[in-house]
């Protein structure tokens, strides 16, 4: 698996004003793999994830140093179009955040803002995306109802469908199952498994079993530093560092 990675962070530092949240992170994300980011709360997982599609640009007084490569090109280089970047690197947030629009409009939104107008095409893409997100059967008769009427788990799958609709290459997921019950969680995990055939997936999770179940590579962070990254199987069975083994076995963090 040593072909060139889909994305990689290279010596990435991140600052919120004076506070340094990431220390020289260097990490590769391979195509068609799921990479899990784990570590105690506040260690910078979300910060790293949000650096990968430059969502952190929205935070005033914040700064990123170093490189993040997408297909070998630095997304922080001058002249990069952030809008195009975000089309290629989609994101699913920790809390489901559907728009206060209909189910259909939620999924169609990304297509519309990218200029797709044809009703038929839109319908097709919406249906495909909802099917991919394993939500179609539940909502096919109520596409014109408000998305806010869905349950939390359904809303999160809707957000996944919404992200998939624009056909990104990389999907970033920040604890996508943290607000969900075990059944919804399982659905989302199955979904991630399905999705990795077509996408590169990077997922933050607090749940060790989940990381072990869904990911191919796991990276462990502590206080803004990357402590250890390895194949998930290796990291969970034979971690190289004591710190890692303490965390995954629940002795600290």
């Amino acid at each position: 698996m040593e072909n060139s990675p889909k994305m990689s962070a290279q010596n990435l530092d991140f600052y919120y004003d004076d506070f340094r949240a990431l220390y020289g992170i260097t990490l590769d994300f391979q195509e068609n793999q799921v990479t899990a980011l784990i570590g105690p709360s506040g260690c910078g997982k979300s910060t790293l994830l949000r650096c990968l599609n430059r969502m952190n640009d929205l935070i005033p007084y914040s700064r990123a140093d170093g490189k993040v490569l997408l297909d070998g090109e630095d997304i922080y280089a001058a002249g990069v179009d952030v809008v195009t970047l975000r089309r290629h690197v989609g994101m699913v947030f920790q809390k489901p955040n559907p728009f206060p629009k209909t189910i259909f409009e939620n999924v169609a939104y990304g297509l519309r803002v990218n200029g797709m107008k044809d009703r038929g095409l839109l319908r097709g893409r919406v249906e495909t995306s909802l099917k991919q997100a394993a939500l179609w059967e539940e909502v096919k008769d109520r596409l014109n109802d408000s998305a806010l009427g869905l349950s939390g788990g359904q809303q999160q799958r809707l957000c996944i469908a919404r992200a998939l609709a624009v056909a990104p290459e990389v999907v970033l997921m920040d604890e996508p199952a943290s607000a969900l019950d075990p059944i919804a969680t399982q659905k989302i995990e199955e979904l991630i498994h399905e999705l990795k055939k077509d996408y590169t997936i990077i997922i933050v999770t607090h749940n060790m079993q989940q990381a072990a179940r869904v990911s191919d590579v796991t990276a462990f962070f502590y206080l803004g530093k990357l402590i250890e990254a390895d194949l998930t199987e290796t990291l969970f069975t034979r971690p190289k560092l004591q710190q890692t083994s303490d965390y995954i076995t629940g002795r600290f963090g």
Binding site: V83, Y109, V113, A163
Partner: protein, 301 residues
């Protein structure tokens, strides 16, 4: 458990009866206090309305609403005033809504927080504190005289618009702030531009707040006398306006005129109350529209 917490807990258990009683007593006391304040507020409105209705009701009839004043304004109706105030309200809204919403979008969505934004906000807040008669004089000096617009609906609308601007900027900013950042992030994350995000997600979500603020601001402006007495309203004109460059009569100014400078002040008292009643009905009506519209939009989500 620390000693401190333990102690407090024991204390609480020992004196439970006394503490419970005191807490309940305070609770009841505060509650009545709040209730009384609310009741006083409601009563004030009711008294004002009752007073106006009692004194003005019998002057209101179809002639009053559909005819211009006659006999040196001691008889007849107030149609030109109603039309004038409506024109001014719509005009003020047309002036203040786009500018106010655009400013608020700039301040809240585009501008990087910093000294300049703070300075602009300070300016806006001070604008809100400027007495309305000063706006009237400004309107006279700038719109009427300097820009040579003349006393007209346009000059009055611009003046009233300037007066309502801070209210609209304030309420729009508040409405924009109330839109969760997660909506913006979701939209940008899908490859929408900032403007698409604002237009398709942020503004629709903020719309109820913006519209309510606007209507409240304008209904406030509709009742103002000072800003229009130099810029738009005239003592008397029997004809209805045909263009935005016409001068007009307006409800608040008409009341003022009848009550202070009319040909027979005492005899026109009923007309004054009738006019005031129409004005307040108009303002409350506008507010009602705002409230209904807002709840409609909220329900639609």
């Amino acid at each position: 458990m620390s000693m401190d917490v333990q102690d407090k807990k024991m204390d609480g258990i020992n004196r439970k009866e006394g503490v419970q009683f005191r807490r309940r007593f305070i609770q009841a006391g505060m509650f009545s206090l709040f209730r009384i304040s609310a009741v006083i507020n409601g009563t004030a409105l009711l008294v004002v309305v009752y007073f106006l209705v009692a004194r003005g009701w019998h002057t209101i009839n179809w002639t009053f609403l559909s005819q211009p004043p006659v006999d040196s304004m001691t008889q007849g109706g107030i149609l030109p005033c109603i039309v004038g105030t409506l024109c001014l309200s719509i005009g003020a809204m047309a002036v203040a809504l786009p500018i106010g919403v655009a400013s608020a979008i700039y301040l809240n969505e585009y501008a990087r927080p910093g000294r300049i934004v703070r300075l602009i906000r300070l300016g806006i807040n001070n604008l809100a504190g400027v007495p309305s008669v000063v706006f009237g004089l400004f309107g006279l000096a700038f719109f009427v005289v300097y820009l040579e617009i003349g006393v007209s609906i346009l000059a009055g609308s611009l003046t009233l618009g300037a007066l309502t601007l801070p209210v609209i900027i304030g309420s729009t900013e508040e409405a924009l702030r109330a839109v969760p950042d997660t909506y913006r992030e979701a939209s940008l994350g899908l490859g929408a531009t900032k403007w698409q995000t604002i237009r398709c997600v942020v503004l629709p979500a903020a719309l109820p707040g913006i519209l309510t603020g606007t209507i409240l601001g304008v209904s406030r402006a509709a009742g103002e006398t000072a800003p229009i007495m130099f810029t738009a309203a005239v003592f008397y004109t029997p004809s209805l306006p045909t263009s935005i460059f016409d001068e007009i009569m307006a409800l608040p100014y008409h009341i003022y005129v009848l009550a202070t400078a009319g040909t027979d002040i005492e005899a026109t008292r009923p007309l004054q109350y009738g006019t005031a009643l129409v004005l307040i009905a108009l303002v409350l009506g506008l507010n009602l529209v705002a409230i209904i519209y807002r709840s409609r939009l909220r329900k639609k989500r």
